[in-house]
Symmetry: C2
Subunit: 416 residues, 2 copies
């Protein structure tokens, strides 16, 4: 008898869709085969698609509060407007903003996410409550100020040490300096040192805009990846968000160092940043995952919707990739980037699973992989072996209450 | 007492969102104000967004049957694969493919669409049955063969005359030659003549790819718009699908002739065609509407999803437009292009209306216009003053049966 059984679904296994059943015990997938014994909980997935949960590899969850705010501005001007609001955030606002993000992500089949923000203990509490998995870091920026550098690093390291492994291991932590244009070289070097000492992941915004590339070259005589590499920042514990404007040489460096990329196609369009060379990144062997970025620069938190837009943009470039490659970017590549044993329907892997029904949007099913991008609302979701959404209803939170609380927090934020 | 009352919704009126109630009598909106008397049918829209229905200004509805087929190919190669399947279509297949398209469109808040395809009487029957509104034309292509030209024109004109005004006026008709690279100049000139004689709309694919521009220049010494203009084809009764590769001179010609454009951003990405200069088209005064194109080159039929992608692409070009402009393109500009008195919440206009609920995806509501692009599943839909979807359930058709029938038709198509 398994704890949970998901029966007779069309399962995404090793890049193929196979009719199959899944047994879950504790927080792991323990059985994948045509036949399966009974489960304490039985989920009938006949006619449904069963996917490993999506991993949102770059977001700022609480920015749901600013969804639709400051529309139509390029990154630099947009950031000025956003920073004004962020200065007013408090624990409660961040908590409810993150709760809303978790609700939206679970309903979109996202089981785990990487978050870099402020008031991070409030983020952790929300993740704990909703039942999601997350890799969390406090967004540090010293802006060249030594005093500030010390303080930021202290908050960042304290958060990482305190919350790592919390909520039965659903939360892991990382060090997250904001970007090369908001952190000094000394600060970035120090972060890299500590991450090696303490074996912590690092996550940073990099090469998002052409402005950033020009600025980095002007200030440091190097392109962003070369610059980070000169600070010994890049290794297989590093995830770079965006990575839009890379030279061939920079791609080679990333491949050699084993760093991962969190590709954010929608945010890069919305803020006029550009189109990342995903086909080339994959060709050279870099692990590419997908991030929505914050809701304010997207306006959704659906990894599958971003995979759709990412795929369309590579088509535009004449560099079409297979839908199965996009599904892997949306799932296992995210888990891999953040060193989690999930993102695959296979024995021994974390039981983070999303079930999608058959609808008018994904029929007929010539090509199930391509269909996932158009019907991106899950019906059942498991995280860490626990059923957190059943028949579209969240188990641990009241959706209406979360929406109301988040609306109130957003209202307060705007009023100042 | 009104036939139908939609009470207390946040209504999109003259580019603003206003809390308001709507009275409907017969097939028209007869009352728009804060207060309203009772209705035979009462729809409580408190907390919901109430929009004029979207108009899908360019599609081939029955191509739902090929959704996800031939993924990842550029237009020319993709067409070869698709034409192979289309040769096998029969009335029944087109009927069920169109039924599935209508179901998907209604659920996405689309109340009307423009369709150019084959077996058009089967399309008309499906439109009639689902309760949608449509402007239909038989897709004609003479390929330079005189015999064929005569036959094609006969089918096209017969269809247009027979079905114009059918189903209480929900169906209107047009002449739809496929494209300048599949129709001879003589044929296009003849179509233009007949359309003037009979006061019929014309709809054609134009300037979709750079290949087409080069080919037209090579064969006729003119760019596509100049070429059509030299055949007296362009006037205010003309809607051009795609219009991606236009010179300044071509845009000027279109503006002078009063022709409309059906912008198809997703299809243009998927088939590697390019990004249309929407900001410039609007700037010069051209009426721009939005089309999904067929499901096989999208893979959705959601006009709002296409508006979202269109908006993101103009942002990428540094030509950001206001979300309200995109909503107008998604609604009233489509009705305007096809000479229908709809697409606005205003007295005297056709009662084609879509109601969207508040969800985790569109909260908080700082900017309702921007939110419509992310939550694109309607809950109630009226077409021609009739409630055709209530609480997400279609009134006239059984969704599950349509999906099953369309799946069977698609299966038969692939098997040959």
């Amino acid at each position: 008898m398994h704890d949970i059984v998901i029966r007779d679904g069309l399962c995404f296994i090793e890049g193929k869709f196979i009719e199959c059943s899944i047994g879950v015990d504790g927080n792991k997938i323990t059985h994948v085969a045509k036949e399966v014994e009974g489960g304490e909980i039985e989920i009938d997935a006949y006619g449904c698609i069963v996917m490993p949960g999506c991993f949102n590899a770059h977001t700022h969850a609480a920015m749901t509060l600013m969804r639709g705010y400051a529309e139509g501005l390029p990154l630099r001007e947009w950031l000025e407007k956003i920073w004004e609001l962020e200065a007013r955030l408090d624990d409660e606002a961040v908590y409810w903003g993150t709760m809303l993000a978790c609700v939206e992500m679970l309903k979109s089949g996202v089981t785990a996410f990487s978050d870099m923000y402020i008031h991070m203990h409030a983020v952790a509490e929300a993740v704990g409550e909703t039942g999601m998995r997350a890799v969390l870091g406090y967004g540090m920026a010293d802006r060249g100020d030594e005093e500030r550098a010390k303080k930021e690093l202290e908050i960042g390291v304290d958060f990482a040490e305190k919350w790592n492994g919390s909520f039965e291991g659903r939360i892991t932590t990382m060090l997250t300096p904001h970007a090369p244009y908001t952190c000094s070289p000394e600060f970035l070097r120090k972060v890299a040192e500590i991450s090696r000492e303490k074996d912590l992941l690092k996550h940073i915004h990099l090469s998002e805009t052409l402005w950033e590339v020009k600025e980095t070259k002007k200030k440091f005589g190097k392109r962003p990846v070369e610059f980070l590499d000169s600070l010994s920042f890049l290794d297989s514990n590093t995830v770079l968000a965006h990575a839009v404007w890379l030279s061939d040489k920079e791609m080679k460096i990333l491949a050699e160092r084993g760093a991962s990329v969190a590709h954010c196609p929608t945010s890069n369009l919305k803020l006029s940043s550009g189109i990342a060379k995903v086909a080339e990144l994959i060709e050279i062997g870099i692990n590419v995952s997908i991030g929505t970025d914050g809701a304010a620069s997207n306006n959704m938190l659906s990894v599958l919707s971003d995979a759709r837009i990412g795929a369309l943009l590579q088509n535009l470039r004449g560099k079409s990739l297979n839908p199965v490659q996009w599904l892997k970017m949306a799932t296992e590549n995210g888990y891999k980037a953040y060193k989690l044993n999930g993102g695959r329907i296979a024995e021994g892997y974390l039981a983070d699973i999303a079930v999608f029904g058959k609808t008018c949007r994904n029929s007929p099913m010539h090509n199930p992989a391509a269909m996932l991008f158009v019907e991106n609302q899950a019906i059942h979701v498991l995280v860490d072996g626990v059923l957190v959404m059943e028949d579209g209803i969240l188990v641990n939170v009241e959706e209406d209450k979360v929406i109301e609380k988040a609306e109130n927090a957003a209202q307060k934020l705007l009023e100042g």
